[in-house]
């Protein structure tokens, strides 16, 4: 390849970004870690990170993990059949109908969440309709259910898209071959379709689980002020209590979760390929 006269000129061309990545990605991350493992007087401590095990904090973390898992699961259950139906329709690339399912993604994230505030309020749209039909009214707003609903509504497209793409890429000949060799449709699904769509499922899970685990806007809008998630706790440390050390310590805990998620995804992905 003779695009560059030497390695040096390529390095020169990449240097602005290398500098940018150092200043705005690497150093800030090191600062989070530094603040997280030091106390206000500059001594090393693990207290900030260990705070996560204190009752209030641990409860918020457990609740976040629990709600994020439920939301991810619901998104998966809704998206997989949808992906299968869409891919069985043999659409052209970028068909209108597929875009229809991911279009809400382009509407502002806060407006999407606000929609559900309007619908679920005590005197909101849904209850008004229920009253009109003489049905008992519901009160979901400010409950964990409302938060899950908000997460599913917001993050569903992130699950639909990768699952649809991975299902759409499966070579039909492979499925026909399985059928020819005597597999029934359930066997074909378990042994062929599901394993081949694994990469899409995994990236969908990551794309829903991480934002759901770390959100603070959805919980503060739909969960009221009483149901705190770990994202809300961290946000308060930085914007209201100004305890950067504790906030950074808790952020390190979040990063550990993200890291574990990444490892699981990598392992599962490799396993799928080797089989």
């Amino acid at each position: 390849m003779k695009l560059f006269k030497s390695n040096k000129s390529a390095g020169l061309m990449a240097s602005p970004y290398i500098a940018w990545a150092l200043i705005f990605i690497v150093i800030p991350l090191c600062m989070v870690i530094y603040y997280g493992i030091t106390s206000a007087d500059g001594n090393l401590t693990i207290e900030n990170i260990a705070t996560i095990f204190k009752p209030g904090f641990f409860k918020a973390l457990k609740r976040s993990v629990f709600l994020a898992l439920i939301s991810t699961f619901v998104c998966f259950i809704l998206s997989y059949p949808l992906g299968m139906i869409l891919s069985s329709m043999k659409l052209k690339k970028n068909a209108y109908i597929v875009t229809l399912f991911i279009l809400p993604m382009w509407m502002n994230f806060l407006l999407r969440t606000l929609t559900w505030m309007t619908l679920l309020e005590k005197k909101g749209v849904i209850n008004t309709i229920f009253e009109f039909m003489h049905l008992p009214t519901i009160s979901i707003i400010n409950t964990q259910g409302a938060i899950v609903l908000g997460m599913v509504y917001n993050f569903l497209p992130f699950m639909i898209l990768p699952i649809y793409n991975s299902l759409n890429r499966i070579d039909e000949n492979v499925i026909n071959a399985a059928r020819d060799l005597g597999a029934d449709s359930l066997q074909t699904f378990w042994r062929i379709t599901l394993p081949l769509s694994m990469p899409g499922i995994l990236s969908g899970i990551t794309m829903v689980f991480i934002p759901a685990l770390t959100t603070f806007a959805i919980s503060s809008m739909l969960g009221g002020s009483k149901i705190l998630l770990i994202g809300n706790v961290i946000e308060q440390e930085f914007t209201q209590l100004y305890d950067w050390h504790l906030g950074s310590g808790l952020s390190i805990v979040l990063m550990i979760f993200i890291f574990i998620n990444m490892i699981i995804e990598n392992l599962a992905d490799k396993g799928g390929v080797n089989k």
Binding site: N7, A10, M13, I25, L29, M31, T99, M107, L110, L254
Partner: protein, 258 residues
């Protein structure tokens, strides 16, 4: 029978996705401030919205940051991807690893880390800090979309052009650049939408008194939803639909020309 069930399933999901949005659009024409009662048709929330200076400046800030961060991120990202060809495999994989960090990491951590950096450097928060933050999280989207194109470049064509007497830069613009332009365009589009939609990173890097649409809505909501916001939602939804429609028509008309 199976077909019908499938159609019903698609319809249910679509209703789940769009019924809430249409409710907002209906409410934006409701003259009663209450969500529970229809007070007649009105356009007053739209006129109020259009004369609202806070919304106008937030909209301006949002668009300015989205456009500028897209331009910078596209230029830096594209140059870096091309430079990657000439770098050793080790440097390349380290650089790609670092580039992946903002994509994998939670937005709240990215936002906090940048906030700590700006406070440490005593950079006053506002337009500049948000712009720097948006460029930072947009570059990976551009690189992710340009990189596959760069990997598939056919260098024989480039070398042939050189053999036929083209200068390096002429050969680059005539043989290599056209190959990667689709990647650059889709990366830029991705960066633009990511910037428009971002709330969390903006929230931590904005400082007080400076608002984008996202942070403005967040503040408004905490004080109680005004029907103006419904009008804003309706307008944004229509704009998104229109842009989508245009983007679908554009490639088709080009294909016809060919």
């Amino acid at each position: 029978m199976k077909k019908i069930l499938e159609r019903i399933y698609l319809a249910i999901i679509l209703i789940f996705m769009y019924a809430p949005i249409f409710t907002l659009i209906v409410l934006s024409f409701n003259s009663s401030k209450s969500r529970a009662k229809w007070g007649g048709f009105t356009l007053k929330w739209y006129t109020q919205l259009l004369s609202d200076e806070a919304v106008a400046s937030a909209l301006f800030n949002t668009l300015a940051i989205a456009i500028l961060s897209t331009i910078f991120a596209t230029i830096i990202g594209t140059f870096t991807c091309i430079a990657m060809i000439g770098l050793s495999a080790k440097v390349r994989s380290i650089l790609m690893g670092i580039t992946n960090i903002p994509m994998i990491n939670a937005d709240i951590v990215t936002g906090i880390s940048l906030m700590l950096l700006f406070r440490f450097l005593h950079i006053g928060s506002g337009f500049g800090t948000i712009l720097l933050a948006h460029i930072t999280f947009n570059i990976p989207f551009v690189m992710l979309s340009v990189m596959p194109r760069v990997k598939n470049i056919n260098f024989y064509v480039y070398e042939a052009a050189l053999d036929l007497g083209a200068s390096r830069s002429y050969a680059f613009f005539k043989t290599i650049l056209p190959d990667i332009v689709p990647g650059i365009v889709s990366g830029a589009l991705m960066a633009f939408t990511m910037s428009l939609d971002d709330f969390i990173i903006t929230y931590f890097t904005k400082g007080s008194g400076f608002e984008t649409l996202s942070t403005l809505i967040y503040n408004e909501v905490k004080r109680g939803i005004q029907p103006e916001i419904y009008a804003l939602s309706a307008i944004i939804f229509i704009v998104v639909l229109a842009l989508l429609f245009i983007s679908y028509r554009a490639p088709m008309s080009k294909a016809k020309d060919n």
